[in-house]
Symmetry: D2
Subunit: 371 residues, 4 copies
C-alpha cells in the first residue's frame, strides 16, 4: 500500500487543499475504506463554515461509498463485511452499548452526537489532529473506526446514486418510519432540496396518494419542483406566487395534510405554515433547522387541533437499508437528482455549490477522489 | 313526570340562577337522564366567562353521573343502556358516521368540536335557546341526545368519585394512551390541578417508576402536591423555590424525563420547561392552553434532541372506561380529590371556586342538583 | 314508488327464484337503497349451502353499490348521506355502542357477528322472514337498517369495480392494516382468488418489493396468476409443479417472507406452508378457513422462530375507504378481475360460478338487478 | 491471578464434576467475569440432557451475576463497563452487525441462535472444547466474549434476586413488550413456574386488573400458586379441580382474557386452552415448548375470533433493564421465588431440582460458586 493518502483537507472556511496524509497503521479492530465516491451533504456547508475554526483542519464528507480495502483481525469478525465488499458507510460511530445502541436507535448515541456533545466523534466532523486523521470522505481512503456502520451496495448501482443512500435514508426515516406516511394520505413537503426530494420518493413508496412539494420562485427551485413531479409528486406549489394554504386545501378536497414535513432551512415561516397545513390530528416532522426562535409559535393550535410535532434528523439503519433497496430497484429516476461531480481539487467549489454560492442547479453533488 | 325541570341557568358571567325549564317531549331516538351529581370541569370557568355572551343563556356542566330516566323507542336499541341504568355521560355528541367516528376517534368529530366549529353541539356548551334546552349537567335532568355516549357506573362507586370519570379519562388519555407512559419511565407532570393529579394516577397505573409533579408556592398548590404524593408521585417540586431542571436531573439520575405532561394553564414558561425537561427522544404532551404565542419557542431543540410534542385535549371512549375501572378498583385515595360539593343554588360559587375566585382549596368540585 | 321489489330469493340450496317482495314502509331511522350492482362474495357459496336450511329463505348478496333512494327523518341526520348519493354498503350492522364499536373495530361487534352469534343480523345473511325482508343485495332495492355503514363512491368509478370495495377492503385490512406489509418487504400470498389478488394490490400499494402469489395447476388458477402479475406480483408459483419453499427462498435471496397471507380455503397444508415460509420473526395472516383441524401444527416452530399468526376476516371502515381510494385512482387494472355479470334471474348460476361449479374463469362476479 | 479456574463441568447427563480449567489469556477485545452467583434456568435441564452428548463436556449456566474482573484494551471501550462493575450478563452473544442486531432485536441474531443454528455460540451452551472453555456460569469465572451484553446491577440488590434479571426480563418481554398487557386488562398465565411468576410481576406492573394463574394439584404448584397471589395474581386456578374456562369466565365477568400467556411445557392441552380462553381479538403468547405436534389445533378459531398467537422466547435488552428496575425497586416479594442455592459441587443436584427430579419446592434456584 502506498505510504500516504491523498485527501482534501479544509484548513479554514474557504480554503480546502489537496494534501497527503500519512497512511495510518490499522489496528486489529479497525480497517480502511477505498473511497469510490462521496456525497456532499447539505450539512457540509455549515460544517465547513464552523468546524475548521472550532476543531481545526479536517477532511469533510460523510456520505462515502467504496470498497473495503483492509480489515484488522478483530474487525474481520466484527464488521460483517470482508475485504473487497462494496459498502456505504453511515456517518455515525455509535458506542454499541448504551441504551440507544442496544435498542436499535444508535443515531441517538451520545458518543456520536456532535450536536449535543462537542467532543463526539463522527465521520466528516472530526479533525485530522485526532489520529488517524482520515475521518472524512473527501479522500481516497477513509479510516474504518471499530464502531463503523456498514450497508452493502450492489455492484449494479452507479456510484452517484449509491451516495444517495444516506439522503434517501433520511427521506425514509422522516416521511415513513417517523412521519408514518401511509396509503392514501396527503403529504406536504416544504423545501424541494435533496432532502425534500428524498421525502417525495419515500412518501410515494409508502402509497401516499397526494404528495405536494413547495418551493420558491428561484430558477433552482423551479428545476427541483419539476424533478419532484418526475419522482412522484402530485402537485408542486411556488409559495411566492400561490397561497399555500389554499393550494393544499384545493389539492386535498378541503381535508388538508395528514403529514407535513418541513425540510426548509432558515426561515421561521415554514414552522408556522407546517402547523397550519396539517389536518386535525395530523403529524408534522420538523427537519430543517432555523437557528432562531419562532415567535409566532402558538402551542394552543397543537392542542385545539390535536397535532403532533416531531423534531427529526438523520436516519436509522433500517431507513438506509430501505433507501438502498429503493435505489437498487431502479424504479425512480434518481439520476436526475445527481447534478454535479467534483474532483478532490475542487472540493471548495463542491461545498460552495451545495451552499448556494457556487455552480447553479445543485441538488445532489458528489466528490470523486480518483478523478 | 313533573312538568318542569329545575336547573341552574347561566344568564351572563356572574349570574347563574335556578330556573324551571319546561320538561321536553322526548323523541323516539332520545332520552332523559336523572342527574345524580355533576363534576365542575376547569373549562367551565372560561365557558362561563364567554358563552352566555356569545351563545346566550345556558346550563353549564358536562361531567354528569346519573340514572337513565326515560328512553325513546329507538334510543332503547341505540344507546346500549336501559331505564334505571347508572351511567356517566361524555360531553361529546359525535355524528357517528364521519371518518373520526368510524375509526374510534369520535372526540375529533367536527359535529361536537366546539373549539373549531362554533355551531357544534356539546353538553354543557349549548344554549337553552336550542331545543330542548337541557344540555347541561347543573340540572336535575339532562337531555339524552341521540348521539350521547354512555359509560356504565357500578353502584358501589360514590357519586363524587364517579364524576371523576371524565377527568380521570383525560389523565389516562394524556399520560397513557397518547403519552405512552410505560414501566420504568420518568414522567414529569406540570401543574397539580385535577388534570395533573389524574395524570399521576394514570402514570402510576402504567408502571412509571419516577413521577414528578410541579406546582407553585401557593397554599392551594401545596395541598395539591401533598395529595399528588398520596396518589403515587415520587417527587413534588415547588418551582418557586427549587430549580426545576436540577430537580428533575437529580430525581432521574441525570437521564431527564421520558415524558413531560404540561397541565398548567396560562403561562408560556411551562411550554419551554416541558421541552427542556425531556430526555433525548422524549415525549411532551401539551394539555394546558396558554391563550398567547410562545416567543421563546425554539423548534431547533426539537430537532437536535429528537423530541415529540403532542397537543391534546379530551379523551377517547377507552380512556374513560379505563378511568372508571381505576375509580371502581378503589386502589387510589380519590376521595382526597373531591373537595367541594354545591347545590344548584350555588353554581355561581362552584364556578368561581374552580376559577380560583371562590372557596379555597378546590381540586374536584361537584354540583349536587337534588340537595 | 312501486308497491313491490323484485329480488332473487334463495329458497333452498340450488333454488333461487326471482320474487316480488312487498315494498316495506321505511321507519324514521331507516332508508332504502336502489341497488346498482352487487358483488358475489366467496362466502356466498357456503351461505347458499347453509342458510336457506338453517334460517329460511333469504336474499343473498352483501357487496352492493347503489344510490340512496329514501331516507327516514332520523336517518337523514344519522347516516351521513343524502338521497341520491352513490354509496357502497358494508355487510356489518354494528350496534354502535359496545366497546368494539366505540373503538372503531365494529366488525367485532357481537350484534353483527354471524359466525359467533347465530341470531346476529347482517346484510346477505338474514332471512326474509325477518322484516322488512330486503336484507340482501341480489335485489333491486335493499333495506337501509339504522346501523348501516356507508362509503361514498365517486361517480366516475364503473359499478363492477365499485363492488370490489369490500374485497379490496379485505386485502387492505389483511395485507396492510393487520399484516403490516411495508416498504421493501417480501410478501407471500397463498391462493390467487379474489381475496388473494386484493392482497397483491394492497401489498403493492404498501411498497412491498417482492410479492409472490401461489396457485395450482388449474386453468382457473393459471389465469389468476397471470392477472396477479399484471396487478403487481413479482413472482407466481404453481405449487403443483414447483417446490414452494425453494421458490420463496430463491425469490428472497434466502431471507424468506416477512409476511405470509393464507387466502386458500379448505386444505390444511397451506397452514403448515405459511408457517414454514415466514422468516424468523415473520408474520402470518390466516384468512382462509379450513373447516377441519390441523394435525401437523407445531407450536414449537412459532416459538423457535418468533412467529406471529393472526386470524383475520373482514375489514375495518378505514380499509374499505383505502380500498375505494385505490379503485378510484385507476392505477390498477381491476377490470381484469371483473369476470362475470349476471342478471337477477341467474343468481343460481352466479353462486355456482363463484363456488367453482358454474361458468369457468370466475374471479370477481357481480349481479346486476336491473338488467 | 490464579492459574486455573474452578468450574462445574457437565461431562455427560448425570455427571457434573468440579474441575480446574486453565485460566485463559484474555485477548484485547475480551474480558473475564468473577461470578458471584448464577441462576439455574429451566432450559438448563434439557441442555443437560442433550448437550454433553451432542457437543461434548460443557459448563452450563447462563444467568450469571458478578463483577468485571479483567478487561482487554479494546474491550474497555467496547463493553461500556469497567473493572469492578457489578453486572448481569445475557446468554446471547450477538454478532452486532446483522439486521436484527442493528435494529435492537439481537436475540434473533443467527450467530447466537442455538435453536436454529447448531454451531451458534451462547453462554451456557458451548462446550469446553471451544477455547477458552469458560462459557458457563457454574464456575468461579466466566469468559467475557467480545460480543457480551451487559446490564448494570445496583450494589443493594441481593445476588439471588439479581440472578432473576433474565427470568424477569422474559416476563417483561412476554407479558408486556410482546404480549402488550395494559391497564385494566385480564391476563391468564398458564404454568406457575419461574417464568409464569415473572409474567405475573410484569402484568401487575403494566396495570393489568385481573391476573389469573393456573397450576396443577401438586404440592409444588400449590406453593407456586400461593406465591403468585403474593406477587399480584388476583385469582389462581387448580386446573385439576376446577373447569378453567368457567373460572376465567367468572373472573372476567364473561369477557374472557385479553391476553393468555402459555408458560407450561410439555402437554399440548395448554395450547388449546390458551386459544379458548382468549376473548374475541385477544392475544396469545406461546412460551412453553411442547416437543410434539398439536393435533387439536384449529386455525379456524383464530379466524372466527380474530386471535393473534405469537411464539416467544428470551428477552430484549430493554426487557432485562426493566426487569432489573423492578427487582431493584423492592416492590415485589421476590425473595419468595428464590428457593434453593447450591455450591459448585452440587450442580448435578441443582439441575435435577430444576428438572423436577431433585429437591422439592424449586422455583428459582441458584449456584453459588465460591461457597
Amino acid at each position: 500500500m502506498s505510504e500516504s493518502v491523498v485527501a482534501a483537507v479544509s484548513y479554514e472556511f474557504g480554503r480546502t487543499e489537496v494534501a497527503e496524509i500519512p497512511m495510518p497503521d490499522i489496528s486489529d479492530d479497525a480497517g480502511l475504506l477505498r473511497v469510490e465516491m462521496t456525497g456532499v451533504c447539505g450539512s457540509d456547508w455549515p460544517y465547513y463554515q464552523k468546524y475548521p475554526g472550532t476543531k481545526g483542519p479536517l477532511i469533510l464528507g460523510h456520505e462515502p461509498v467504496g470498497r473495503v480495502e483492509t480489515l484488522g483481525r478483530i474487525a474481520r469478525d466484527r464488521f460483517g463485511v470482508k475485504e473487497g465488499d462494496r459498502v456505504a458507510l453511515e456517518e455515525y460511530l455509535p458506542c454499541g452499548h448504551c441504551k440507544y445502541c442496544r435498542s436499535g436507535d444508535f443515531r441517538l448515541c451520545d458518543a456520536t452526537d456532535t450536536l449535543n456533545r462537542p467532543d463526539a466523534v463522527r465521520y466528516g466532523s472530526t479533525p485530522i489532529s485526532r489520529a488517524p486523521s482520515l475521518w472524512g470522505g473527501y479522500s481516497r481512503f477513509q479510516y474504518l473506526h471499530p464502531n463503523s456502520v456498514f450497508h452493502r451496495v450492489p455492484d449494479h448501482v452507479p456510484a452517484k446514486q449509491a451516495t444517495l443512500a444516506l439522503p434517501l435514508g433520511n427521506g425514509v426515516e422522516w416521511a415513513y418510519l417517523q412521519g408514518k406516511a401511509r396509503i392514501g394520505e396527503a403529504v406536504v413537503i416544504q423545501g424541494p432540496g435533496q432532502q425534500g426530494l428524498a421525502c417525495v420518493v419515500a412518501a410515494k413508496e409508502a402509497g401516499a396518494s397526494c404528495i405536494i412539494v413547495t418551493g420558491l420562485s428561484t430558477p433552482a427551485d423551479e428545476r427541483r419542483l419539476a424533478l419532484a413531479k418526475q419522482l412522484g409528486a402530485d402537485y408542486t406549489v411556488n409559495v411566492d406566487k400561490v397561497n399555500l394554504f389554499d393550494a393544499v386545501k384545493d389539492a386535498t378536497g378541503g381535508e388538508m395534510a395528514d403529514l407535513v414535513i418541513d425540510c426548509a432551512s432558515g426561515g421561521t415561516e415554514t414552522v408556522v405554515s407546517a402547523i397550519n397545513l396539517a389536518r386535525k390530528s395530523g403529524r408534522i416532522i420538523m427537519g430543517g433547522r432555523k437557528f432562531k426562535k419562532i415567535p409566532e409559535f402558538d402551542s394552543d393550535v397543537l392542542i385545539s387541533r390535536f397535532l403532533t410535532v416531531k423534531g427529526m434528523r438523520g436516519h436509522s439503519w433500517d431507513a438506509v437499508e430501505l433507501g438502498l433497496g429503493i435505489i437498487a430497484s431502479g424504479r425512480y429516476a434518481l439520476d436526475g437528482m445527481c447534478t454535479h461531480t467534483f474532483p478532490l481539487a475542487e472540493v471548495d467549489q463542491a461545498l460552495r455549490t451545495v451552499g448556494g454560492q457556487g455552480l447553479p442547479g445543485a441538488i445532489h453533488c458528489t466528490v470523486s477522489p480518483w478523478e
